[in-house]
């Protein structure tokens, strides 16, 4: 049974994801992969290379947004797509993760959509027996 995952959330103007995980680390991985899945076809990405990703915030919510915004930046500027993500270090203020993937070539690969940013809109992180979060992206 998959311990973490994501599904789309309806929004009139934009796109959201609801994500869950057994641990906070898995939640952040699920959110990252959920976002990547909006931008490109993760399944089609070949895990050729590894990249490290760092993000910083002042609480869980700001850290989640910073993490997601960094993934947007890596795709848009770094032209890198991830097939998988692993969170190596996570506390309330800092995250260090790594992921495997390949370079994005608009001539060869098909991006699914442009995501402008992760927003604070309806942002929720809840912990009951699992970690849950909801994030809306401005597209």
């Amino acid at each position: 049974m998959v311990a973490y995952g994501s599904e789309p959330v309806e929004h009139t103007a934009d796109i959201g994801i609801a994500v869950w995980g057994d641990s906070k680390e898995e939640l952040f991985v699920a959110a990252g992969l959920g976002l990547c899945g909006l931008m490109y076809d993760i399944e089609a990405v070949i895990p050729d290379e590894s990249r490290e990703i760092k993000a910083a915030g002042y609480d869980d919510e700001s850290l989640l947004i910073a993490w997601l915004d960094e993934l947007i930046y890596i795709f848009e500027v770094g032209r890198f797509m991830f097939h998988g993500l692993v969170v190596n270090q996570l506390d309330e203020r800092n995250l260090v993760a790594s992921g495997s993937g390949q370079h994005f070539d608009p001539g060869k690969h098909s991006g699914l959509r442009e995501v402008k940013a992760a927003t604070l809109h309806m942002l929720k992180i809840i912990k009951n027996n699992k970690w849950h979060a909801q994030v809306i992206f401005d597209v």
Partner: protein, 484 residues
């Protein structure tokens, strides 16, 4: 989505008021420009609660306003207008949006759609070849970390001096093509990098270039002043500041989040995060925002240049012979310092327009001579199946909405619902049966932008006219659309 059940008083057929007594903390009332039908749509999400929340902003003057195309946004509603006092007021990135200075320009020609029907497919092909568009696309303009700073400061002027377009275009762009006060030092490295390869690109999502026909003239004198005539081919470009704007908004939402605690603001929604205009955070945001605004102006100027090239190639004549000129270029996501008359006195204010367009009335000092008598052109993009509009600013807009009006139709349906209703391929076939040529990079994205996913822009502009905040000048029928 829960329906809004707040307090509303009908002031006229086109105006509703949310009294300050509705929620403790409102500094001004809410004013909603809508008719009963559009109000009913607005009540179906929490957009009006957002209008109420904006009324909490320190220094807000007169009212928190909602244009007829209002819908739910981030903190501010889309279609929100809020003016604040220059000395005591705050600036909020949420009142501008992620796509800073997203906007539209309209270019006119001397060509008649009826005569040139056979060449339209060729024009769309030429535009497809010339316009950089789509997810992850780049164009021929490659900026360095030095030259991007020139774009941030120069705006459309930079583009013209770099060979994109004509000097005469500047008089038909807001602020003559360059916003003053840009501070590139306040733009982060991330934002800078996002902009290096995106200059002169269309983007994706709801950005487009559309070839249109002027299908109806409502105000002959104003249409003539704008260079428009019945049956004419015109071309509309909708794009913004790309990743630069998105990143600047992201960066400053964080800065403002901390500023709210520092300045002790008690706001009902953290997405209204703001800082005093006259504070380091406020000045830094405005300096960076202005860079993004200039980047957007340069972007549309470059896109306009390639529109000219596509027309010259298709119709076998130069721009001057084709009568290819810029009608006007407007932004619909911006905060600008302006002077307005409030209770008989001229005051400097900062007007936030988020999904709202500037609509200065006749006689305004910023208008070029040829538009002074009739008012500022306002370009309203509709959806690709129905219509777009050209409006003009009015005295009533100057008196009641700080010279503002709607920006478009506003979405009605989520992207997922839109895709369930129709596929991109079916939609393209349907539009082509209607006589609209469609060039789209991604069918799935096309489906998300289906006409049925949007409110009817004709209703929106009728209400703007009914309320007196802009007047209808011309209706534009889509002939061909290019999307990323």
């Amino acid at each position: 989505m829960e329906r809004w059940h707040g307090l509303l008083t009908k002031k006229s057929d086109y105006l509703f008021e949310i009294p300050m007594s509705y929620k403790q903390g409102m500094r001004v009332p809410g004013l909603v420009f809508a008719d009963e039908a559009l109000l009913e749509l607005a009540l179906q999400d929490q957009a009006l609660e957002q209008v109420v929340n904006v009324a909490f902003l320190p220094g807000i003057i007169n009212a928190s306003m909602a244009m007829p195309d209002i819908h739910w946004g981030y903190g501010f509603p889309i279609g929100g207008v809020a003016a604040v006092d220059i000395d005591s007021g705050v600036v909020s990135p949420g009142g501008v949006g992620f796509d800073i200075s997203c906007g539209v320009r309209l270019m006119r020609t001397d060509l008649e759609a009826g005569r040139e029907a056979g060449k339209l497919a060729g024009l769309l092909d030429a535009l497809t070849a010339l316009i950089p568009k789509g997810v992850g696309s780049t164009g021929p303009i490659k900026l360095s970390k030095t030259t991007i700073r020139e774009v941030f400061v120069g705006g459309a002027k930079w583009a013209i001096r770099s060979g994109y377009g004509l000097e005469q275009d500047l008089r038909h762009i807001e602020h003559n093509g360059t916003h003053s006060g840009a501070n590139p030092d306040k733009v982060s490295e991330h934002a800078l990098h996002r902009g290096l390869d995106q200059s002169g690109t269309l983007g994706a999502g709801n950005h487009f270039i559309e070839v249109q026909e002027v299908s109806e003239i409502y105000d002959q004198e104003t249409a003539t002043a704008f260079g428009l005539f019945q049956g004419q081919i015109v071309i509309m470009v909708h794009s913004g500041s790309r990743g630069v704007g998105h990143q600047i908004c992201t960066d400053y939402v964080k800065v403002m989040g901390a500023a709210v605690r520092k300045y002790g603001y008690d706001l009902p929604d953290r997405q209204l995060a703001c800082a005093p205009l006259d504070s380091p955070e406020g000045r830094d945001y405005l300096g960076a925002m202005t860079c993004a605004a200039n980047y957007a102006l340069a972007n549309r100027q470059c896109l306009g240049h390639w529109v000219r090239l596509a027309c010259e190639k298709t119709f076998g004549a130069g721009s001057i012979k084709l009568g290819l000129d810029l009608v006007f270029d407007v932004s619909h996501n911006l905060a600008t310092i302006e002077e307005h008359e409030i209770e008989g006195k001229r005051r400097r204010v900062c007007v936030h327009r988020k999904g709202a367009t500037r609509a200065f009335g006749p006689g305004h000092e910023s208008l070029p001579a040829e538009y002074k008598k009739v008012g500022q052109p306002v370009i309203i993009p509709g959806d690709m199946g129905r219509a777009s509009y050209v409006l003009a600013g009015t005295d009533i807009a100057m008196q009641t909405t700080f010279g503002s009006t709607c920006h478009g139709a506003g979405r009605l349906m989520s992207r997922a619902q839109a895709k369930k209703q129709i596929s991109g391929t079916e939609l393209r076939a349907r539009l082509e049966r209607q006589g609209v040529i469609v060039k789209a990079g991604k069918m799935a994205l096309l489906a998300e932008e289906a006409p049925d996913a949007y409110k009817d822009v004709s209703r929106v502009v009728d209400v703007c006219e009914g309320a007196g905040i802009s007047k209808k000048v011309a209706r534009l029928k889509p002939l061909g659309v290019l999307k990323g």
